[in-house]
């Protein structure tokens, strides 16, 4: 048995799920469905991605065939792509796979807005209109996109200096 970090559409934190390396993706989804994290039954409309991969794995494949190993991160989502809009002193858009880490999105945003190294150093991404929720760098962008709205709007921001 191996343990996998499973990310889904319902929150930034992954869950640890046990499965056999010889399980198929479909069988893995059935295990995950018992936790209620899929938001419905297992069907072909649920895509499974390895971390930072833009292409989903095929449901009939075994985990070992997909090179999914112990403690790897996978993402289950009903969106094949997520449209990401980032607002700073303007707006930039890009499409990412749901399993794209927030860190990769942040790096893209830093380049898109042409930030200097100094300006880039302390930037974080927050949900636009919900400034109280910081997106952890290890989280997957798909975790912030609702299943029937394959998009997310973010603000690139710098916290004010920590001082008294």
């Amino acid at each position: 048995m191996i343990e996998l970090y499973v990310h889904a559409q319902n929150g930034a934190d992954p869950k640890l799920v046990k499965a056999s390396e010889e399980s198929t993706i479909t069988e893995l989804l059935q295990i995950i469905a018992t936790t209620g994290d899929l938001g419905g039954k297992v069907d072909e409309e649920i895509f499974v991605f390895t971390e930072d991969s833009d292409e989903p794995v095929e449901h009939h494949r075994k985990l070992s065939e997909c090179e999914i190993r112990h403690r790897h991160h996978i993402h289950c989502h009903r969106c094949r792509k997520v449209q990401v809009s980032v607002f700073y002193n303007g707006e930039h858009h890009e499409t990412f796979g749901p399993a794209t880490t927030v860190k990769r999105v942040l790096k893209w945003a830093i380049k898109a807005f042409k930030l200097s190294p100094t300006d880039a150093a302390d930037k974080i991404l927050v949900l636009k209109g919900h400034g109280s929720e910081e997106l952890p760098l290890d989280a997957h962008i798909g975790s912030f996109a609702q299943p029937h709205h394959c998009s997310v709007e973010l603000s690139l921001t710098a916290p004010v200096e920590v001082q008294g």
């Binding site: 790096k107 380049k111 880039a120 150093a121 302390d122 200096e161 920590v162």
Partner: protein, 160 residues
């Protein structure tokens, strides 16, 4: 085992903490069973440009966790004592004051998720709502904040 310790230990086994361990972001210097409650020691990875050793050890106080926020002190695991002030991380930018040696004797981090620093800084609740400790947080929130401070996104990484 009291509820605060039981919950803390459960969070150490949870996916968010273990994910960070697997990613080399933080970890325990020994076994979880070695923790002297309520003072777990946890290391957090740091950019070698900030901490030449590549990590910092923090000695936490986490009684009444997670209702009460943790507090943490930079630690020397060799001497089992507070880290010398000259070895504290020297940060620049927005987080430059987090590892202060001129406040509270350097016994805690000047951070919005630190119990000692939160007292008297209620304005931080509005300024840092994502780091202002609440009972819904886990120790991973504190560790994530420290990791963010010690591992700034740099331009050379941006090209990756």
């Amino acid at each position: 085992m009291k509820p605060d310790q039981s919950l803390f230990m459960a969070h150490l086994e949870g996916a968010p903490f273990q994910s960070g361990v697997d990613a080399g972001k933080w970890g325990l210097p020994g076994a979880a069973t070695d923790i002297v409650w309520p003072h777990p020691i946890v290391w957090v990875a740091a950019d070698p440009k900030i901490m030449p050793q590549g990590r910092i050890f923090l000695c936490f106080t986490v009684d009444n966790y997670p209702v009460s926020a943790p507090t943490a002190c930079p630690w020397d695991v060799g001497t089992n004592a507070k880290l010398g002030g000259h070895l504290y991380p020297r940060l620049t930018g927005k987080f430059q004051r987090v590892f202060r040696t001129d406040w509270n004797g350097g016994n805690s981090l000047y951070a919005p998720c630190d119990r000692m620093a939160m007292a008297g800084h209620e304005q931080w609740k509005q300024a840092y709502p994502y780091w202002w400790w609440t009972a819904e947080f886990t120790i991973v929130k504190y560790l994530g904040f420290v990791h963010l401070c010690l591992n700034p996104i740099r331009d050379e990484n941006a090209a990756a």
